[in-house]
Amino acid sequence: MKSLFHYMPRTPLLVALLVIIPGLTAQAQDPKIQLSQLDHLAARANETVDVNVDERLIQLAAKMFNEKDEDEARIKKLVIGMKGIYVRSFEFDNDNEYSSADLETIRAQLRGPGWTRMVNVTSKREGNVEVYVSMSGSEINGVTVLCAEQRELTVVNIIGPVDLEKLAHLEGNLGIPDLGIRSTKKPKDEQ
């Protein structure tokens, strides 16, 4: 009985640790980032794209792709393993409508464990493009693209396995109307 009472106070602590630690680890490895900190920019933006597609919606949408169509079959194959796609894109009429603090709210999350910055292009004239990947073992389980131009801010957060090469080569093959957010910069001769 002495040994039982000796271990009794430790038991709840042990149970709590067993419950909390896996939860914290799972949270640390979750490649979903919070984009809601950028929502206040929508009031200043000329055009806003806000996409929240979770796993259920991806599966639902995947059923809508026509597998007989080559492009749609390719897209379906690409998205079928994804667990979520979240996008915030803001296009502004004027320069510097967003602050570095806005970018920092996103970057701070991407400094967490699991994330690696794969690409970082800094250009004072054209803006910054950063690509972060979250790895699970040797496989990508999350991608975040942060594109900050003078009049445009775009954050794309993809959760799940992603083939970056195939995703990058989808451009121009999706057959969806141009949203007019491709680039806010005008050629020099027009200016």
Binding site: V49, V51, N52, V53, L57, I58, L60, A61, K63, M64, F65, I75, L78, V79, I85, Y86, V87, S89, T116, M118, V119, V121, S123, E126, V129, E130, V131, V133, M135, I140, V143, V145, C147, T154, V156, I158, L164, E165, L167, A168, H169, L170, E171, L174, I176, L179, I181, R182
Partner: protein
């Protein structure tokens, strides 16, 4: 016989009536407290009996339901699997054979074209495959997904172009190894 005594006990008692009174008087009402403890015992009731009855009823209902479901599904499967056979007819029987068969049929009188014992009929109406119309939610999800993919693809392509100039195959794949 003195009838007055018989009616209201007035007058002289009749000896015969007095004797009867004496005999039956032992059976007359005697006031005493009611005591049922020895004679009548309340029936002993099990407290858990109602609960047991409810539990038993639930278990029986569950078992019956499972059996019914299994039976129904088995019937469905059987109905679906039933293969409808039709009597095979030779594609090009010889004309002499056909003529002989016609003559035999005419001689035998009217006969059903197909024997019911040979043909297995699926009496249950087969369910027609449901045509699922694309829901509004699914269409919106697809639209959102395409928008997100377009943006992601555009920005990734931009990053690729900015980092390594003109795109060549396997550039991003090679970068995975570095990451």
């Amino acid at each position: 016989m003195n009838e007055e005594y018989l009616w209201d006990k007035s007058g002289e008692p009749d000896p015969e009536i007095a004797q009867l009174e004496e005999i039956l008087g032992t059976l007359k009402y005697k006031p005493r407290p009611l005591d049922l403890s020895d004679q009548v015992k309340p029936a002993s009731r099990n407290r858990y009996l109602p609960l047991l009855a409810i539990a038993a009823a639930l278990v029986i209902a569950l078992v019956v339901g499972l059996i019914w479901l299994r039976t129904t599904s088995t019937k469905d499967d059987h109905q679906q699997i039933t293969h409808v056979e039709r009597p095979t007819v030779p594609s090009n029987p010889p004309s002499s054979e056909v003529a002989r068969q016609d003559n035999e049929q005419k001689a035998a009188g009217p006969v059903n074209e197909t024997k019911s014992s040979v043909v297995a009929r699926n009496t249950r109406r087969l369910r027609s495959p449901k045509v699922i119309a694309p829901s509004k939610e699914a269409l919106e999800a697809k639209e959102q997904l395409m928008t997100a993919l377009r943006l992601a693809s555009e920005k990734l392509s931009l990053a690729q172009k900015k980092t390594q100039g003109p795109a060549t195959p396997n550039q991003i794949r090679n970068q995975h190894k570095i990451g």
